[in-house]
């Protein structure tokens, strides 16, 4: 299992690395393209200038050399300037920007419009030559015989028959186009929706092709009835033959490209979106009192003729809504039909088209306020039906597409505000919690989608539902819809998690993990907010996250019972296996490093930190009580958090403390933030120690981490101004000492592995606290009560101080464990590492440990002598007994 996890981990790491490199490579590629494209363009322009000057110079003998010289100088300047510009990074960056914008625009247009390139081709190949013919005809109209061939002339009579034939041919092409475009399009696309057919039939390319054919017909009638320019007398046949051939080719090309239903639906969506923008007009922004420049001028002239419905504040103009609903129902028809026929591409494109229409609608709708919207209500119903249809389809993947669309609509809907925003004068207090009823429809539907799809076998739809809920949660948080978050987001995620936990299989365990990750993501966002909220119910997202995680832990630990995986609850919350994973230590660090300056904010930050420490401790305790295998991970998290607290306070907090000192006189001197946090850490330490000690946990290395916390505390005693840290440490040691001694005396169970730690703590007390009484007491207790022979541990022979009775960890001496999760994130700098090494040297000082060992030996050596003497005597007696028995 570890091998598999390790391989997956390596793969993820490789992916992340490559993702980082790719933009640089892409930039290099685009720079090269921009560079060569620019060089080629300049070369072509310079060549054209030279070529034109060469052609035009023979026509004017007087200015021949001037024209040539001008052309050469102009192109020379162009080439030299281009050579300089090529090396100008700003210019190349600008070119890349232009190139990127243009290519994105073209990609978007070609994706949405099946006849995008056709339009420009028709314009270039057919329309421009035809326009030139028209211009020539108009210029030379009814001129003399040198420029105009009149009707009845010999030349006209010669071509009149061919003109007649061309006219009939063009007429045939027009009717063929009519037949192809109407019947073929309606036959192929009509079963999806008549509106989609209509939108394609009125596509500007199709209209241009028709207009072109009619214009050719018109030109031919002009030539037949009035004559034609003399210049084209010899070219009439080739010109019209070419026109007819190209016209036929274009007709076939347009027809072939237009009969793709997938592209046609996308185009229809785009067209409907355009019409929606026209029908649903933006608000007049009565409250903001803003006029567009256009209406500002009209208003000044007393001509404010805007639709009165646009003055509505809480709902959009009712006139446009039936149109939008009509467009949407057409697209939904196409989607239903596609689901029935199992056409995934068509479903996908229909959903994109629906999103396009709704996006445009919401862009204008959001200028009005309101908690209800008929269009979105109806879309929600339609989506629910479509979701059910996709769930019953044999192609289960289609449900993922529908859920993604639901999530996106939900995200768009969050742009519509319920009421105008209220300015909050005091930033310390958060805004009053805002509601967002429209989005509830979509979160509800996402939850429903999860319920429908989590039983399906061949789809990632449930993951998508959780992802979309998470995205909606993020946007809700950013828009400060805290009431909505509290009542729907967290409850939905918790319900989904409960469903996942109740189905005890690996697939549902992953779904549960996804839920926890979603909460953790929101948790990281909320940790940055240190404002309070004036409300009867606690809508503060931070507290909501803590509450949700606590509730989810109960179920999650039940799955993790007796089953260790790297995706267990402890690992997800506290162990950084991926760079993108957010763990509790990250959140703790984020809160700690917040830039707080005000008294109230500071107390909230301290409160949040305490809540987080409590959360970790509670998880550890629940894990232990439910027998979860990875509950030791929480002790690791606790150790890392304790390190972050003990090492230092952030600069912002320190500054505040300095200012506070000068603030005298005060009735109640509040403890410093550092003291407050340390008091919390050591209170929780004692709590956790008692629980873990009572549960007889052996083998999670928790003893080392718990003692390391005390060790780090001891090394920092001297730099603290107050006595709090010292007292807390002594209290912890007192607890540990009492529990170990009591258990040993009562002989309840084996606590042999605790004696070396107690000896080590005694040594630290003697060195750092300078409380000789306590350290001598510990030495005498260790000397008296520590068993002389233990079955639990043997001497490994590789550690230096184990022989002196000190603990051994991983076949070596005690050390301050590495903070793996903090190091990868860069929370620990090189300076911190040096400090940790320094602490390690202070704690495991040879002189200190050996002198303390000697102190213990004062009590222990006579007892040892006596113990072994008794053993030897017993052995002798046994031998005697054996000999008498043998005799």
């Amino acid at each position: 299992m570890f091998d598999l996890w390790y391989r997956e981990h390596l793969e993820d790491q490789a992916k992340t690395e490559i993702t980082k490199i790719l933009p640089r490579l892409e930039y290099k590629r685009r720079t090269s393209i921009a560079h060569y494209f620019f060089s080629f363009l300049v070369a072509v322009i310079a060549f054209v200038i030279l070529f034109v000057t060469h052609i035009s110079s023979p026509y004017n003998e007087d200015l021949k050399y001037y024209i040539l010289t001008f052309g050469i100088i102009l192109s020379g300047v162009l080439v030299i300037v281009s050579q300089f510009l090529k090396r100008n990074s700003n210019f190349i960056r600008y070119l890349i920007h232009v190139h990127g914008n243009a290519s994105n625009y073209i990609k978007k247009r070609t994706f949405m419009d099946p006849l995008y390139w056709h339009f420009f081709t028709i314009l270039l190949i057919l329309c421009i030559p035809l326009l030139l013919l028209f211009v020539m005809t108009i210029i030379t109209w009814n001129g003399n015989s040198e420029i105009w061939v009149t009707v009845g002339s010999e030349s006209h009579n010669l071509h009149v028959e061919s003109i007649k034939q061309f006219s009939s041919l063009i007429l045939a092409i027009v009717s063929a186009q009519l037949a192809i475009f109407t019947f073929m399009f309606s036959y192929l696309l009509g079963r999806y929706s008549s509106q989609i057919v209509k939108s394609l039939m009125t596509h500007h390319t199709v209209l241009l092709l028709w207009a072109f054919s009619i214009a050719v017909l018109l030109l031919l009638w002009i030539f037949y009835l009035y004559g034609y320019p003399y210049l084209i007398e010899d070219y009439i046949n080739p010109i019209f033959i070419t026109i007819i051939i190209f016209s036929l080719i274009m007709t076939i090309w347009v027809c072939v490209s237009g009969i793709h239903p997938e592209k046609a639906v996308l185009y229809a969506g785009k067209k409907f979106a355009r019409k929606t923008r026209k029908h649903v007009k933006k608000s007049t922004l009565v409250l903001e009192k803003k006029f567009s420049k256009f209406w500002a001028v009209f208003n000044w002239a007393g001509l404010d003729w805007r639709e009165t419905e646009r003055f509505k504040l809480y709902e959009p103009p009712s006139k446009g809504l039936p149109f939008v609903m009509g467009y949407l129902s057409n697209l939904f028809n196409a989607a239903y039909k596609a689901v029935e026929e199992n056409q995934q591409d068509l479903v996908h494109n229909s959903l994109i088209a629906i999103l396009n229409v709704l996006k445009t609608y919401i862009e204008n709708r959001k200028t009005y306020y309101g908690s209800r919207d008929n269009v979105l209500n109806e879309t929600n119903d339609q989506m629910a039906a479509l979701l059910k249809a996709t769930c019953n389809s044999p192609n289960e993947h289609m449900s993922t597409l529908v859920i993604r669309c639901i999530g996106n609509i939900g995200l768009y809907s969050l742009q519509i505000e319920e009421r105008p925003s209220v300015e909050v004068p005091n930033l310390l207090y958060g805004p009053p919690p805002k509601r967002h009823e429209i989005s509830l429809l979509w979160t509800g539907l996402l939850k429903e989608a999860f319920e429908l799809t989590h039983k399906l076998q061949r789809t990632t739809a449930p993951y998508e539902a959780i992802d979309q809920l998470k995205l909606m949660g993020i946007i809700s948080h950013n828009n400060e819809y805290f009431e909505t978050m509290a009542t729907t987001f967290f409850s939905n995620i918790m319900n989904i998690h409960t469903t996942s936990v109740n189905n005890k299989d690996e697939y549902h365990r992953l779904l549960g993990q996804k839920c926890i990750e979603a909460i953790m993501y929101i948790f990281a966002l909320t940790s940055q907010d240190s404002r309070t909220y004036n409300c009867s119910i606690d809508f503060r997202p931070f507290n909501q996250c803590v509450h949700s995680l606590k509730r989810m832990a109960q179920g999650q630990f039940l799955i993790d019972k007796n089953n260790f995986t790297f995706e267990g609850f402890g690992n997800i919350l506290t162990s950084k296996t991926k760079e993108s994973q957010i763990i509790l230590q990250d959140i703790f660090y984020l809160i700690m490093e917040q830039n707080v300056s005000e008294d109230r904010q500071k107390s909230i930050v301290i409160n949040d930190l305490e809540n987080l420490i409590d959360l970790v401790a509670e998880f550890a305790k629940i894990g232990i009580s439910q027998g979860a295998v990875d509950c030791g991970m929480f002790i690791n998290a606790f150790y890392e958090i304790a390190y972050l607290i003990i090492r230092k306070s952030p600069e912002s907090m320190k500054k505040y403390e300095c200012e506070r000192k000068s603030d005298i006189p005060v009735l109640y001197e509040r403890p410093s933030t550092q003291d407050q946090k340390e008091a919390k850490i050591f209170t929780v330490w004692r709590d956790l120690f008692s629980v873990f000690f009572d549960k007889r946990i052996i083998g999670l290395d928790w003893e080392q981490k718990m003692c390391a916390i005390l060790g780090i505390g001891f090394t920092n005693i001297n730099i603290r101004e107050s006595e709090l840290l010292k007292n807390q440490l002594l209290e912890c040691i007192d607890l540990l000492r009492n529990r170990v001694i009591k258990t040993q005396i009562e002989n309840n169970r084996n606590v042999d592995h605790w004696w070396p730690y107690l000896q080590l703590l005694g040594a630290w007390v003697s060195e750092f606290v300078k409380e000789s009484k306590i350290s001598i007491e510990i030495a005498s207790e260790v000397g008296k009560l520590k068993p002389f022979h233990s079955y639990l541990h043997g001497y490994s022979g590789q550690s230096k101080f184990e022989a002196y009775g000190y603990p051994s960890v991983f076949h070596g001496d005690f050390f301050i464990p590495r903070m793996n999760n903090l190091m990868t994130q860069g929370y620990i700098t090189e300076k911190d590492i040096k400090q940790i090494i320094c602490w390690q040297e202070m704690l495991m000082n040879e002189d200190l440990l050996i002198s303390y060992h000697k102190e213990i030996e004062k009590t222990r050596s006579p007892l040892r002598e006596q113990y072994y003497k008794e053993l030897r005597e017993k052995k002798k007696e046994r031998n005697k007994d054996n000999q008498t028995e043998e005799n």
């Binding site: 060569y36 080629f40 030279l50 060469h54 052609i55 050469i72 192109s75 030299i80 050579q83």
Partner: protein, 104 residues
């Protein structure tokens, strides 16, 4: 001298060679295009080839001009740097002499 040659290579000649290479390929591509486009028309082809020759000459001139320009720019920078270095060393010497005098 060795450093100077390295600087010239890195900042002037390397880029000029790259420009030459780019321009060569561009001109070859254009020549082929001219041959293809004016395959049926002799008169225009003659004009086009004449223009092409002038364009090639213009490119060579442009590359020479740019390389000379960057060479001058580099020399200017080198001279300024040398002047600054000289100044700073003379200041150092002066301050060293001063402290020596003070000690004496």
């Amino acid at each position: 001298m060795k450093n100077y040659a390295k600087l010239i290579w890195e900042n002037v000649i390397r880029y000029s060679l790259l420009d030459l290479f780019t321009s060569f390929f561009l001109l070859v591509a254009m020549y082929i295009l001219i041959k293809i486009i004016f395959i049926f028309d002799n008169t225009f082809r003659i004009y086009a080839l004449k223009s092409f020759k002038i364009l090639a000459l213009l490119y060579i001139t442009a590359i020479l001009v740019t390389s000379c320009w960057y060479h001058i720019k580099l020399l200017k920078l080198l001279v300024i740097n040398e002047y600054k270095n000289k100044n700073s060393t003379s200041e150092k010497n002066e301050s060293a002499n001063n402290t020596k005098d003070e000690r004496e």
